[in-house]
């Protein structure tokens, strides 16, 4: 299986979903997305950071400096209440979207 280009806006959804499992730093977010998608997405990990900061600005996630597993200073992100609501809404939209696309593509 080859790699996929990420659809517009999907990265935000993936980040929010990943953070719904608990607070983590950017690297963890990247690693989890990579593992869960089996490396299917063709995405530069750097692109994660503008997205994280944008989401923070929108008030969906918040950040704080903390210590990583190996005692290094790292920035941890976590979902806010608004972020959780946003995630629910985006997941619902995504599911309707995929269902609709699937409905069209399925052999009649």
């Amino acid at each position: 299986m080859g790699t996929l280009d990420l659809l517009q806006g999907t990265l935000d959804l993936l980040i929010l979903k990943t953070l719904s499992w608990g607070p983590m730093h950017g690297y963890s977010v990247a690693r989890l997305i990579r593992e869960r998608s089996d490396g299917a997405f063709l995405i530069e990990e750097g692109a994660l950071y503008p997205a994280l900061h944008r989401l923070e600005r929108q008030g969906w996630i918040e950040s704080d400096w903390g210590l990583s597993e190996n005692n290094r200073k790292a920035k941890f992100y976590q979902l806010t209440a608004r972020g959780r609501a946003q995630l629910r809404a985006e997941v619902a939209t995504w599911q309707r979207y995929t269902k609709a696309v699937a409905g069209v593509l399925e052999p009649a």
Binding site: G26, A47, Y49, R57, R72
Partner: protein, 914 residues
């Protein structure tokens, strides 16, 4: 002043380095963590790092992108935070004010009065001094003026107007207008006085003033003598007299008896070029003769009863040019050359003295973007002095408020201390204090605007010498609001600066110490700032009180001046026979009937007629020569002329020093006689023994002097007695008188009413301007003096009151903070009287220091008020002494209450509570 610490932090910028280094750290962590992971999976470190970087992508690009997002975020956050904290401070201030409504009301009201009064005076000053005319491109408007002598109204003949117009690049941009004149318009059954101006046919177009209904005067109306029997109403007159009825256009009204067609209404807001008086009607220059127009003019060798336009020797027009400022100089040069060549021709036959005199004339173009205004000259200095006074009053009020806030902030020092110890930043506290004072000031400013609107109207009424307020356009709301806002913010910052300074200086230790009850602190209870404030308030009050005193004395001096005639028992009726269109042949008969009717009124002792009324009824000045005497170079050879009936001198109570008065025998057929004033005699003859001497307009001298009268201030109380020449009216039967005087035996009011009906019986259409007691006429000339005395007086009283309240506040506060100390003193044997003296002494020391400072401040004030005073020095010792005594007395009274309270302190209570 010390800079208020922390105030900068409010406006600080998030340093970009913080954002960048944070993001750098975050990205670095990612790459390092990935490298570590890969190393753990068995890659070499360099190899691992390389792979991590490849996976990450362009580090620089992502970093830049992220930084940009954060910066935007930081900015909005900062603005939000600031707005939020400003709102918080504001709400906090409002809450604080609600908690002490008495204080809040007093503070807001004090500032509202101060700001309102300042705004009112400023509004008028601004409208008078700075507002441009409400016409298109007012900076292009220029007046032709003489350069060799200061002269507001430089008058020219119609002939010269046409000659000068010919040298203009565009003759239609060169225009002429007459001086204002009172005429009588008949729209109902009685002629009513209106203010009129005659203008040339291109006047409206040159000014770019259009008609809001109908049309304006144009060239065809002014092409030939009597060509345009038309009139344009001003918008104000249209509103006042016709209720803005558009049907008036096209109708006919009678002006000075002449039917004129109303052709239009001028554009709204335009009331002529003279700021402070409002023209009612404009008519073409061509109608001068038909309308019997007579306004400001000067003439020699001319017959003013004939049409003026063809006569080059009648100067009566003010010339205007509309030229771009850049080319004004060049055009002025061309005009001056034309004037010079004109003059050269005219003086060719004159003798050398006259020649030199007349050749002094040079002209230029003076920009008049704000129009002309005698009012501006009259009220410029008074308004400036009032502005300064009212500004000082506001300063004193600020002082009071600052003192109150200071005391409040001391009383709240415990709260401040707690907040500082809880980590409140000092800058934040300072800002809160300032927000509180700004809130008070802005509330005061808003209320002040309402007061100002009322105050402006009141000032315009008081400043008017007639029955209607001065027609000044004061509706420029944006500027007024901007001024009030500016003053409010300035006031708020000034008032808040004192408590802010105190808060900013608080150390934790000070705060708790001040809040506790430690005895004998060096300065915490003495409020040195508060005392300095009171001292300056007293100093400023002294300046205001003394200045007010000087102005009140000025007015009184002027009111009690002996004008050289009797003012209490004389009533003057000002009439305009010329305007009624009487033929000069019928004048003697009319005069007899008028005098007969007036003399028959019960209570009238005698009646007289005169060409020009006393006290501002117009003047006629002529040149005279005395054979065998040449006046020294530079001495004026003119005197003021009047034509009077025989009973004039006894009616108005003028004293004949030598010789005789006029009799009925001094008629047309008799030798021409004159009565002159003593200063006229001294000036022209060099002696007062002049009865029997001769003088005249030229040689041979026509008049024989038959009497000398005492000098009299016939024009205005403030104006020194001019040189006077009186001639019998009977010997100048073609002159139209403008004034009838009666001497009354009893009360004046019934005579006034009876005169009105007597005139009506003689001729119902006789234009009657007014009937006024002579004393009122004289006092009308003192409008600006009265205005200044009244307002400066009330400002002085206000200042005194404010200073007393300030002192009372500070001393009262000081006593309440020192209850404990006073208690100890009393317990240790001090007598109540001694304690009282202690407090009184302190307040007296403060007042004394203030007075000394005030006396020093009076020095520069002299220069400003010097021109406005009369018969008294701006630093009149008596006034200064009285003012000082008044101030000391008032402040002593203000200090007595706290002193008395201090002496009544119960030592036991005071010490126990410590």
């Amino acid at each position: 002043m010390r800079r208020i610490p922390g105030i900068r932090r409010v406006f600080r910028h998030e340093r970009s380095r913080d954002v960048e280094s944070d993001i750098d750290l975050e990205l670095q962590f990612h790459i390092d963590a990935r490298t570590d992971d890969l190393v753990r999976r068995g890659l070499g470190r360099d190899e691992a790092r390389q792979a991590a970087l490849v996976e990450f992508g362009d580090v620089k690009r992502y970093e830049t992108e992220t930084v940009r997002i954060d910066r935007g975020y930081a900015r909005t956050t900062r603005i939000k935070e600031l707005l939020w904290s400003v709102w918080f401070d504001f709400a906090y201030a409002l809450r604080g004010l609600r908690r002490s409504p008495g204080f809040a009301a007093a503070a807001v009201l004090t500032l509202a009065l101060g700001i309102g009064a300042n705004t009112a005076v400023w509004t008028i000053l601004d409208a008078l001094m700075r507002q441009p005319l409400p016409i298109d491109r007012p900076d292009e408007l220029h007046a032709v003026r003489r350069t060799d002598q200061p002269n507001e109204d430089y008058l020219n003949s119609f002939q010269r107007f046409q000659r000068l117009q010919a040298v203009m690049p565009d003759p239609q941009r060169f225009t002429a207008m007459s001086a204002y004149a009172r005429m009588y318009a008949t729209t109902g059954d009685q002629p009513e006085p209106v203010l009129t101006q005659l203008v040339s046919g291109n006047w409206f177009r040159a000014l770019h003033v259009s008609a809001s209904a109908g049309r304006v005067i144009d060239l065809d109306d002014d092409r030939a003598l009597d060509a345009g029997a038309v009139a344009v109403l001003s918008d104000a007159y249209w509103s006042r007299r016709f209720g803005r009825d558009p049907r008036i256009v096209g109708t006919t009204i009678r002006v000075n008896g002449i039917p004129l067609r109303v052709i239009g209404v001028g554009q709204p807001g335009f009331q002529g070029l003279t700021v402070g008086s409002s023209v009612d009607l404009w008519m073409p220059l061509s109608m001068q003769h038909a309308l019997h127009y007579i306004g400001n003019y000067s003439a020699h060798d001319a017959d003013i009863e004939k049409a003026w336009a063809p006569q080059d020797n009648v100067q009566w027009l003010i010339l205007l040019a509309r030229v771009p400022p850049a080319s004004a100089m060049r055009i002025a040069g061309a005009l001056d050359r034309q004037v010079r060549s004109d003059l050269e021709q005219q003086v060719a036959t004159a003798d050398s003295l006259d020649r030199a005199y007349r050749l002094r004339e040079h002209v230029t173009l003076q920009p008049i973007p704000r129009g002309v205004s005698p009012l501006r000259e009259q009220f410029k200095d008074p308004l400036r002095v009032l502005m300064a006074s009212v500004g000082l009053v506001l300063l004193i009020a600020c002082g009071n408020l600052a003192g109150l806030l200071l005391a409040r902030s001391s009383a709240r020092s415990h709260e401040v201390a707690v907040r500082i110890s809880l980590g409140a930043r000092r800058g934040r506290l300072v800002r809160q204090v300032l927000t509180e004072s700004l809130t008070i000031a802005l509330l005061g400013g808003a209320l002040g605007l309402v007061i100002a609107r009322w105050g402006t109207a009141m000032l315009l009424r008081v400043a008017s010498s007639g029955s209607r307020p001065v027609p000044l356009d004061v509706s420029n709301d944006v500027r007024v609001i901007a001024f009030a806002l500016l003053v409010s913010v300035g006031t708020g910052l000034l008032v808040g600066a004192f408590p802010a300074m105190r808060v900013s200086r608080y150390g934790l230790y000070d705060a708790f110490r001040g809040a506790g009850r430690v005895m004998g602190g060096r300065s915490s209870h003495r409020l040195p700032l508060g005392r300095a404030l009171v001292m300056s308030q007293i100093a400023l009050s002294l300046v205001l009180v003394v200045t007010a005193g000087v102005f009140v004395r000025t007015l009184r001096n002027l009111l009690v001046i002996d004008p050289g005639y009797e003012r209490e028992h004389v009533v003057v009726a000002r009439i305009d026979i010329r305007a009624a269109g009487y033929d000069s042949a019928g004048l003697p008969a009319l005069y007899d009937r008028l005098l007969g009717a007036a003399g028959a009124i019960p209570g009238v002792r005698s009646a007289s007629l005169s060409l020009n009324a006393l006290a501002g009824g117009g003047t006629r000045t002529s040149g005279f020569v005395v054979p065998g005497r040449t006046l020294p170079r530079g001495e004026s050879s003119t005197a003021q002329e009047n034509y009077v009936t025989p009973d004039y001198f006894s009616t108005i109570g003028m004293t004949i020093l030598t010789g005789r008065g006029f009799t009925r025998a001094d008629n047309v057929g008799a030798p021409k006689v004159a009565i002159i004033s003593e200063s006229m005699a001294r000036h022209f003859f060099g002696t007062e023994r002049v009865v029997g001497s001769r003088f005249g307009y030229g040689t041979p001298p026509e008049f024989e002097v038959v009497g000398v009268v005492k000098d009299a201030r016939v024009n205005a109380l403030r104006e020194a007695a001019p040189r006077l020449v009186f001639r019998p009216l009977a010997q100048a039967p073609r002159e139209y008188v403008t004034s009838l005087e009666v001497r009354v035996a009893g009360p004046r009011e019934p005579v006034t009413a009876a005169l009105r009906s007597a005139f009506h019986q003689v001729d119902p259409m006789l234009p009657l301007r007014d009937i006024t007691p002579l004393s009122d006429l004289l006092e009308r000339g003192l409008t600006s003096e009265r205005l200044v005395a009244r307002l400066a007086g009330s400002f002085g009283v206000l200042a005194l009151l404010l200073a007393a309240i300030g002192l009372y506040g500070v001393m009262g506060y000081s006593v309440s903070r020192r209850t404990n100390e006073m208690g100890v003193r009393l317990a240790l044997g001090a007598s109540p009287g001694g304690v009282r003296m202690l407090v009184l002494r302190e307040s007296l020391l403060t007042s004394a220091a203030g007075v000394v400072l005030g006396l020093a401040l009076l020095l520069p004030v002299q220069g400003i008020t010097g021109r406005l005073v009369y018969g008294v020095s701006p630093r009149d010792p008596a006034t200064v002494v009285i003012g000082t005594a008044l101030l000391i007395a008032v402040t002593a009274i203000a200090a007595f209450v706290p002193a008395w309270r201090a002496s009544r302190i119960d030592p036991v209570d005071a010490i126990r509570s410590a």
